[in-house]
Symmetry: C2
Subunit: 328 residues, 2 copies
């Protein structure tokens, strides 16, 4: 259970970030570009990535105000990936609202994503830090890995031989890397030593892996009205989630074939989601996913061991709990 | 007619850039991302933008080697725009070869473009310059304008009331801005004074406007086998080119209606391209376009007046001739 102080800081940072995001498109033209950008940025989201960045800065008693531009940048970058990934995944809703390509078409969604990534750099480059060049490189290398992770994810949809190592490589690039970047950049802005920057980066990475496996779980165990996006969309899209990969690599031959058969034919049959969930339960995928999440959380906690005891460090530990227990 | 020395320098720079581009995807994984990136980067192209950057550096007797990373970056950025623009324009061929979305589908083309823009930053950030932060900002602001220009271009396809000022705003962002960036960054790396950086930036901008109007002309006057892309594709896609905008704003009412009628019904009827070309000739669009190109070329030449006489400056003037007289 997170502390009251954490909840206040979380809300305070969330408000700071939302205020900045809500002004990004202000008085910019043309409308057909900035209206969908504004729509995306005002459609909610927990802002976990920018908050992780700011808390990593705060954990080192750094100047949190100086981290806001970079925090806004990682959230813009995250939203770029959402818009383009939703196109590739053909998802109709996001956060309970129509996706950009559903509302404006794929041409505008393409441009919206491109605009968001350049606006992300614009915000990042406003950061007042002597190490801005290093920060820009970390940010850029991260985007390349995001693209690689997305390409792997896409490739895996057509494969049935994906191993857990392949899956972990993919989520390391597609999800965990961005949280690694957030914590690393926050630590650099907070004037952390090399070992502190590395420890916080590792914390972000472990948090990211836990977060993604949790996401895979929630896709099939959460209630749709809480999730805000199409329920079971990973299954419908034939994603190689932790549950699927574990299931296919651990089930006996008969169960594996039954699972493959259901997965292959689960297009839009949301009734089959329950059947698939029961099957994952039976094979042990759900227990294994929960154990993996717990492992990553434990590692993430250990990454902070050598950091000085600051309120910021306490908040990072609370953020771990928040992510581990989230319902959507 | 360009000088022999220019041709040699052009070829030398082109080779340097092509060598670097051909290695960008080397031993990178996954294949489904880097294979199309390699395909795009090895499919030719005149490399005018990076050559402009390097020549702008050379014109100030700067260290041209130090400008190569930035030169590669602007070419990567240009190729990002080509891949995504081809998706929006539904163009099937580019430089005589199938476009990425035609060959691999729109999902992979989307990712290819995203990968290219991040690889562009990676190359840019390798630049050894004390002003790398400023260079990064110029590059980023430029990408935002490219997106805005593309959004305007897209919007104009649905409009019939576009004026020449609107058109000029659009090409200023969509085309000329990137050439402005090239010349500006080259001048900064070449340690130019503020006024020299500005003069070269203006040169790039004027060159870019001439280049785009030339492009509009070539779409309808060039031979398809030279052009390497679908002939008359601007007309088929209902683009507001210089010729169209001039035609619709200068024709008498009857001619305007006939032109609109032909443009509206010119889908894939390449036979009508000849009819449209004759009509542009009759209205005066082609003469006006040639005059506009000449004006921009004259302004670009004047932008260089105050620069010291260096071989690099001479090459920039040759580059102007090269662009003004190109056939594809």
């Amino acid at each position: 259970m997170e502390s009251e102080a954490f909840k206040q800081v979380f809300l305070k940072y969330q408000t700071l970030i939302n205020d900045r995001l809500s002004k990004i498109a202000d008085s910019r033209q043309p409308q057909n570009l900035y209206q969908p950008i504004e729509y995306v940025l005002n459609s909610g989201g927990k802002r976990i990535r920018p908050i992780l960045l700011m808390l990593s800065c705060k954990a080192l008693d750094g100047d949190v105000d100086a981290s806001l531009d970079a925090a806004v940048a990682v959230e813009l970058l995250h939203n770029f990936t959402l818009v383009h990934d939703d196109m590739m995944d053909q998802d109709d809703t996001r956060r309970g609202m129509p996706t950009v390509h559903k509302k404006w078409g794929s041409d505008i969604a393409l441009l919206t994503g491109d605009g968001l990534v350049s606006l992300a750099y614009q915000s990042l480059l406003r950061t007042r830090s002597k190490r801005i060049h290093e920060i820009s490189k970390i940010f850029t290398d991260g985007i390349i890995e995001l693209c690689e992770g997305q390409a792997l994810d896409y490739d895996f949809e057509k494969r049935q031989d994906v191993q857990l190592d392949d899956y972990l490589l993919m989520i390391g690039k597609k999800t965990a890397r961005l949280l690694h970047i957030c914590a690393t950049i926050g630590a650099i802005i907070g004037n952390g030593s090399d070992s502190q920057v590395q420890a916080l980066g590792n914390f972000g990475n472990n948090l990211g892996c836990a977060f993604q496996i949790q996401d895979d779980l929630l896709d099939i165990t959460s209630k749709q009205e809480i999730l805000g996006k199409t329920h079971g969309s990973d299954i419908i899209r034939k994603k190689q989630t932790y549950l699927v990969v574990y299931g296919l690599t651990h089930a006996d031959v008969a169960t594996k074939h039954r699972l493959l058969d259901i997965l292959e034919n689960s297009n839009n049959h949301s009734a089959r989601i329950t059947e698939i969930r029961d099957m994952f339960q039976h094979i042990g995928s759900i227990d294994a996913a929960n154990a993996a999440i717990e492992n990553y959380i434990t590692s993430a906690r250990a990454n902070l061991d050598d950091l000085p005891s600051t309120p910021g460090k306490g908040h990072l530990l609370d953020l771990l709990d928040y992510v581990a227990t989230r319902q959507a």
